[in-house]
Assembly symmetry: C2
Homo-oligomer: 213 residues x 2
């Protein structure tokens, strides 16, 4: 987890007509470190079939695969872990179902949620929405966290902090400067004209920004 | 499973202002055989907390508890099984995640789906919607199956057939006569003025109708 820079969250509805598998392939070619299978609007049967294909691609490429919300799907796909929101299955219940070596990420938008997740044994935090975003799912989640609160959260926990929400090539340097360990994106990659190139660009900016800390 | 007559599917939104826990308590007092925790509109954190309480009640009463759609929630609650629709996690994937003794029910609205589910090892079928129904979830699922197709499905499988969709005190005798082994209801019980009494009434009608076959 210490090596993660760029985290792609999938959402076919935001992929400019391209399918998630195609998006994932291009992002892997561009050097993405971590894929979260989300595609919230799709039914489980679809996500299972899609997930089997993404599992193959990510395993070959040595890229980690995290499943949004569904511990059962994570187990069925032998994914590397699961990402849980504050309204999902509680962390303690998920821990009982998953093998010890699996990654569990928890969404946090306040210091309190972050501390609670870390104390409960979360492996990383998904902190957001950092900025206002058009990504439907995130928009409904919470109002913007902002860079100050991101920095505050980062200063109080030891586990990696993945920032999410409204992030793109123009603002990720300051998000890294504020303390994020990982940059999570949906649209910045899924809606890019050239996904592979955009992935490379974002990763380059993140690596550069981390040097400056 | 051979002893099941009446199967209650929970939906707080259709419970005339009463909470699902209250509805389940009254239905258990009235002699319901099986509870399916559905409450599709609620988030997982809520269903988990509610499920823990329902698990206690059903275990004490010797009533089976089935979880709609989520294998992870079924595992976390140590429920008796899971009910899967045609668009949910595939049966074969669910079987790998659940202990051998757990019940897996599959929704089927055609003979083909029924035969496929039985061949795959389903423990029972949920066949519907038998009649037109106002229950939001079912309405969107499929158009009405009707008694003829229910009878055809029943004649071609050996596993128990639970009929669902638009069932109430006025029509369940003919549904049993057409071959249903189990009557599943939402509104007929959840919207009843006196849930315990309604449960008793429905169960009496089912038992009487089974004698007549
Ligand atoms: Ni769901």
């Amino acid at each position: 987890m210490e090596d993660w820079d760029l985290y792609l969250v999938t959402e076919e509805e935001l992929s400019s007509g391209r399918c998630t598998l195609e998006v994932v392939k291009a992002a892997i070619n561009g050097g993405v470190d971590l894929i979260q299978l989300r595609d919230k609007g799709k039914d489980l049967a679809y996500r299972y079939e899609l997930g089997l294909k993404i599992r193959e691609l990510t395993a070959e490429a040595g890229v980690d695969l995290i499943i949004n919300n569904r511990v059962d799907l994570a187990l069925a796909l032998e994914a590397d872990g699961v990402h849980l929101g504050q309204d999902d299955l509680p962390l303690k219940a998920a821990q009982k179902l998953l093998p010890e070596d699996k990654i569990i990420g928890i969404s946090a938008s306040t210091v309190e949620e972050a501390l609670q997740a870390e104390a409960g044994g979360a492996d990383y935090l998904g902190v957001g929405s950092i900025f206002a975003t058009d990504s439907k799912d995130l928009k409904n989640d919470r109002s913007a966290v902002g860079l100050n609160r991101l920095a505050e959260i980062k200063s109080k926990v030891d586990i990696p902090v993945a920032a999410i929400g409204g992030l793109n090539q123009d603002n990720i340097s300051e998000v890294i400067a504020a303390g994020a360990d990982v940059i999570s994106v949906i649209s910045a990659v899924t809606q890019a004209e050239d996904i592979e190139w955009k992935t490379e660009e974002l990763k380059g900016i993140i690596k550069e920004a981390k040097k400056g800390r």
